[in-house]
C-alpha cells in the first residue's frame, strides 16, 4: 500500500476497503464486456476509472450499482460477499451513482430534489420549513452554495450535478460513482465540481471518478484503474502514471494527435456571420471564416456557442444578423434555407438534436443525405451499400451488422453524427463540441476528420469549451463571454495558458 494511504488510515490498511470486486465477468449476447475484473474501493479515496468507449467502464459501474448482475465473481461490501446486487440493495448498502444524464425532477425545487423520497412530514402534511432547512444543511455541509428554492430546471448543468451529489450523500452514499461529471462544463464549473469531489473524499466517501480528460484525472485522482477490452490493464496510485503512460495503458499504443500541416486557407470567405444577436444570449456576434480555415469559438459551455447552433441551423430566429455562405446571403431562422446553402451544423447534443435512437446505424448515417438527394424508395440492402464507405471512412464499429444507433458506444455515435453531416458535400460547417464524450483514440480520429475537412476547402466554425481542442484544431480563435466577443487571436500568437485564462475569466484583456 502507498505511503499516503497508510498515513490516512493508520494501522488498518487493505482491510478497510469498503467495496471489493473480485473476478467479475459479464457478457451480453456472447460479447464479453467484463473478463474477470478486480477492483478495491477505499473510503476517503478518489478512484479514477479510465478506459476507452466500450472498455467496460459503464458495465462495471452498472454491476456496482446493481443494474446488471455479474455472470461470475463477487461484489464484497464491508466484507460480505454478494454474487450480485440489485439496485435496491446497492442503494441500501450506500452505493450511489450520479449518471452522465442528470436525473432531477426538473419542475421541483432544489430542496425537494435533495430530499426526494424522504420529505419531512407531520401527519402526512409536508413541513416546508423543515424541507428547506434540511436541504440547506445538506448543501452547506458539502460547501455548495445554491438557493434551495430555485427549480431544478433553472440550474446549470454543474449545479444539477452538485444537487444530485448532495442528494446521494444525504441518503447515506458511502460509495459514489460519478460518470463524467465535468463533461460539457466550462473550466470554472468543472473546477467547482472537482472541489466538491475533493471535499467528498475528505469526508470519507469512496469516490469512483470516470472521465475522459487525462489532465483532470491526473489532477484529481488518488488511484487509477485502467480498463481495456473488459479487463484491468493497470491499477495503482496516480503518482505511478504519467499522462503518456496512462494513454498508452488505455489505448494499448501511443496516440498522436498533433497539429498537422494543413494547406493555407483560401482567400474567399466560406462562412460569414455579421452582427448576430438574440436576446441576452448572444450579442452582436460576427465572424468570418475563409474556405479551408478552422475558426474556433471558445467560451464557457452553455454560453454563446450552444445558441450558435440554434441560430445557424435555422432552428431559431435571431433578433438581427446576416449570414453568408460562399458569398451568397442565406435567410436566417429557416432550416431549409440553411441546409440549402450548403451549411452543415453538427450539434453537440447528439441525444436530443443529433440522432434518432430507434433507427438503425445505417439509417441515421444516411438520414440527411438521402433527403438531400430526394430519394423515394428505401431498400435496406442498397442503404447498407451506400452507408458502407461512410462507415469505413469514419471508423464506425459495430459488433452486429446494423444495430439501432442507441446501442452504440458514445464515440461511435459521435462518429455516426459527424459522418451523417460531413458526407453531404458541405460548403461550410459548424461543429459544436465534436469530441463530446468520446475516448482519446476516437478524439484523435475526429480531429483528423476535421483536418481533412478543412484541407478539402471547407470553412469550419468550431464551438468548443476545451482549450486543448482549440489549440489542436483552430487557425484562429474567438473568445466569447456572456454573449459578447471579448477577444480574437491567431492561434500562433497565443499560448494555451493565456487561452485558458481568457476563457476562464472571460474578461477583455
Amino acid at each position: 500500500m502507498t505511503a499516503k494511504e497508510s498515513t490516512d488510515s493508520g494501522a488498518a490498511t487493505a482491510a478497510t476497503a469498503v467495496l471489493r470486486i473480485r473476478g467479475v465477468r459479464k457478457s451480453f449476447g456472447g460479447a464479453a464486456a467484463l473478463k474477470g475484473v478486480d477492483l478495491d474501493l477505499h473510503p476517503g479515496e478518489i478512484h479514477a476509472l479510465m478506459g476507452m468507449n466500450g472498455a467496460g467502464k459503464s458495465t462495471l459501474v452498472q454491476v456496482l450499482s446493481g443494474v446488471h448482475q455479474p455472470d461470475g465473481g463477487t461484489v464484497e461490501v464491508d466484507g460480505h460477499a454478494h454474487a450480485g446486487l440489485t439496485v435496491r440493495r446497492a442503494r441500501r448498502l450506500g452505493i450511489a451513482s450520479v449518471p452522465q444524464r442528470r436525473e432531477l425532477a426538473m419542475g421541483l425545487t432544489v430542496a425537494e430534489n435533495v430530499l426526494l423520497g424522504d420529505l419531512p412530514t407531520r401527519r402526512a402534511a409536508v413541513r416546508w420549513k423543515a424541507v428547506r432547512q434540511q436541504a440547506r444543511e445538506a448543501l452547506h455541509s458539502l460547501g455548495i452554495d445554491i438557493d434551495v428554492e430555485r427549480t431544478a430546471g433553472s440550474l446549470t448543468v454543474a449545479e444539477q450535478t452538485m444537487v444530485e451529489v448532495a442528494r446521494e450523500v444525504r441518503r447515506g452514499g458511502r460509495v459514489l460513482v460519478l460518470d463524467e461529471p465535468t463533461a460539457c462544463l466550462s473550466a470554472k464549473d468543472a473546477d467547482r465540481i472537482r472541489t466538491l469531489v475533493r471535499r467528498l473524499r475528505d469526508d470519507g466517501v469512496a469516490v469512483v471518478y470516470i472521465s475522459h480528460y487525462i489532465d483532470e484525472v491526473m489532477a484529481v485522482a488518488d488511484r487509477i484503474t485502467v480498463l481495456r477490452d473488459g479487463a484491468v490493464v493497470h491499477t495503482g496510485p496516480a503518482e505511478e502514471l504519467d499522462p503518456a503512460g496512462l494513454v498508452r495503458a488505455m489505448v494499448g499504443r501511443d496516440v498522436v494527435s498533433r497539429r498537422p500541416e494543413r494547406p493555407a486557407p483560401k482567400d474567399e470567405l466560406g462562412l460569414s456571420v455579421r452582427s448576430l444577436s438574440q436576446g441576452r444570449a448572444i450579442r452582436d456576434f460576427s465572424v468570418e471564416v475563409r474556405r479551408g480555415e478552422v475558426v474556433a469559438v471558445l467560451g464557457p459551455a452553455g454560453d454563446a456557442q450552444s445558441r450558435l447552433f440554434d441560430l445557424l441551423s435555422g432552428r431559431q430566429r435571431p433578433d438581427s444578423g446576416e449570414l453568408h455562405v460562399d458569398g451568397r446571403p442565406v435567410a436566417v431562422g429557416s432550416i431549409p434555407a440553411s441546409l440549402g446553402s450548403g451549411l452543415r451544423c453538427v450539434t453537440g447534443d447528439r441525444r436530443t438534436l443529433g440522432l434518432v435512437p430507434e433507427l438503425s446505424l445505417d439509417e441515421n448515417l444516411m438520414l440527411a443525405d438521402d433527403r438531400f438527394t430526394r430519394r423515394r424508395l428505401h431498400r435496406r440492402d442498397r442503404l447498407a451499400r451506400r452507408a458502407e464507405p461512410v462507415r469505413r471512412a469514419y471508423g464506425v464499429v459495430s459488433l452486429t451488422g446494423n444495430p439501432p444507433v442507441s446501442a452504440l458506444s458514445g464515440g461511435n455515435q459521435q462518429k455516426v453524427l459527424l459522418g451523417k453531416w460531413l458526407e453531404t458535400g458541405p460548403a461550410a460547417c459548424f461543429l459544436e463540441d465534436p469530441t463530446n464524450g468520446v475516448d482519446i483514440a476516437a478524439m484523435a480520429d475526429i480531429h483528423t476528420l476535421v483536418d481533412d475537412l478543412a484541407a478539402r476547402g471547407v470553412a469550419v466554425l468550431l464551438a468548443s469549451s476545451s482549450a486543448e481542442e482549440v489549440m489542436r484544431l483552430a487557425d484562429r480563435v474567438v473568445v466569447v463571454s456572456a454573449g459578447r466577443t471579448v477577444a480574437v487571436h491567431d492561434i500562433t500568437a497565443i499560448t494555451r495558458d493565456e487561452l485558458v485564462a481568457t476563457a476562464l475569466g472571460g474578461q477583455p484583456q
Binding site: F28, C345, T352, P357, L359, S360, L367, L377
Partner: protein
C-alpha cells in the same frame, strides 16, 4: 388464420432469426410479436376445443370481415402513431362521412358522387386536424379528442334523430364476395399491405419513423416535417372516409349513435397498441396491428359463440389490451437487457 401474409415487420433491423424453429425456445423469443402470437394461439385453441363452429371457413371469414372496417382505420393510425401523431377522431369521422354519404344516396344522388364526397370530406377533416396539430402545437391527443367529440355531435345533427337507409345502393361492396372472400376484407387487406409497404420501402415511411423517433433531428435533417404530418393526417382522414363507406355498405343504413364514433376509435387504438406500436412514436409495425385486430376479433367472436352476454365485449377488449400492453413491455425490457 394467416389470411394476411404481410411483409416482415418494418421495424428496426432484427436479424430474421430462424422463423418458426419450434425446437429451440430461445430462437422463438426472437420472433417479432412472439407474445402476441402466443396469446392468439391460446385463445384460438381454447375456443376451437369448446365449440364446433369456431374453426369453420365460414366463421373465420366472418371474423375477418367484421374487423375489416377497423383494419382500414388501424392501418392509417399505425403509420400516424409511428410518426408520433395521434388521431382520436377517426371513428367520429367515420360517423360523419357515413351519415353524409347515406343522406346523399337516400336523396337519389349518384353513387360515384356520394363516394367522392365521403372521401373528400374525410380527407378534409383529417387535414383540419393536421393543421391544428402542426400550427398550434396543441398536443394531438387533445386536439383530436376535441374534434372527435365535435364530429360525434355533427353526425347526430346530420341524422336529425332518424336512421337513414340507403336501400340496396352499394350493396355489392358490403355483401358480395370475390372467390369466397368478401369485398370488405379484400379492401382491408389491400390497405394494410399498402401501409406495410409504405412503412418498409418508401422514404416517406422512414420519415415517419424518424419524425416519431426524434422530431428535432428529422427537421434538422431536411425532412419537411410539417408537410409530412399534414399528409399523414390527411391520409388517416381519407381512410376514415373509406371506412365510413365500408361501414355504410355493410349495414345498409346509418343511424344516430350507431357503431361508429369514439367507441369504434377506442377499439382501433386498442388494436394498434396491442400490436406493439409505440404511443410515443418511433416504432410501429403493420404486422403487429394486423395481429391485434385479429386477436380482438377472435375474442369477440369467441365470447359470442360461447354464449356470453354481449356486455362482456368491452370487458374483453379492455382485458386483452391490458394483457397485451404488459406483455409488450416485458418483451421490450427483456430484449433491452440482452
Amino acid at each position: 388464420m394467416s389470411v394476411k401474409t404481410l411483409p416482415d415487420a418494418p421495424g428496426v433491423a432484427e436479424p430474421p432469426a430462424g422463423r418458426r424453429s419450434r425446437f429451440s425456445p430461445g430462437a422463438l423469443r426472437g420472433v417479432p410479436h412472439a407474445g402476441l402470437i402466443a396469446v392468439l394461439v391460446i385463445v384460438v385453441a381454447f375456443t376451437a376445443m369448446r365449440t364446433e363452429t369456431f374453426a369453420t371457413d365460414r366463421n373465420i371469414v366472418n371474423i375477418l370481415s367484421q374487423v375489416s372496417v377497423n383494419a382500414v382505420l388501424a392501418a392509417g393510425l399505425t403509420l400516424l402513431m409511428t410518426a408520433g401523431g395521434m388521431d382520436f377522431s377517426m371513428g367520429s369521422n367515420v360517423a360523419v362521412t357515413a351519415a353524409v354519404a347515406a343522406k346523399l344516396l337516400a336523396s337519389g344522388q349518384p353513387t360515384g358522387w356520394a363516394v367522392a364526397v365521403a372521401l373528400l370530406l374525410g380527407t378534409a377533416i383529417g387535414l383540419v386536424n393536421g393543421l391544428v396539430v402542426t400550427f398550434t402545437r396543441v398536443a394531438p391527443f387533445v386536439a383530436t379528442l376535441a374534434s372527435a367529440t365535435l364530429l360525434d355531435g355533427v353526425a347526430l345533427l346530420v341524422h336529425d334523430g332518424n336512421t337513414i337507409s340507403i336501400g340496396t345502393r352499394m350493396f355489392a361492396l358490403g355483401n358480395n364476395k370475390l372467390l369466397g372472400v368478401p369485398y370488405l376484407l379484400v379492401v382491408a387487406v389491400l390497405v394494410l399491405v399498402a401501409a406495410a409497404l409504405v412503412m418498409r420501402f418508401t422514404v416517406f415511411g422512414r420519415d415517419a419513423f424518424a419524425i416519431g423517433g426524434n422530431e428535432h433531428v428529422a427537421r434538422l435533417s431536411g425532412i419537411n416535417v410539417t408537410a409530412r404530418k399534414l399528409v399523414l393526417y390527411g391520409t388517416t382522414g381519407a381512410l376514415s372516409g373509406l371506412a365510413g363507406l365500408m361501414l355504410l355498405s355493410r349495414l345498409g343504413s346509418s343511424s344516430p349513435g350507431g357503431t361508429a364514433g369514439l367507441s369504434l376509435q377506442l377499439a382501433v387504438v386498442a388494436a394498434v397498441v396491442i400490436g406493439g406500436t409505440s404511443l410515443a412514436g418511433g416504432y410501429g409495425t403493420v404486422t403487429g396491428t394486423a395481429l391485434g385486430l385479429v386477436l380482438l376479433g377472435v375474442v369477440a367472436n369467441a365470447l359470442n359463440l360461447l354464449d356470453f352476454s354481449s356486455n362482456y365485449q368491452p370487458v374483453s377488449v379492455g382485458a386483452v389490451l391490458l394483457v397485451a400492453a404488459v406483455a409488450n413491455e416485458m418483451h421490450k425490457a427483456r430484449s433491452a437487457r440482452h
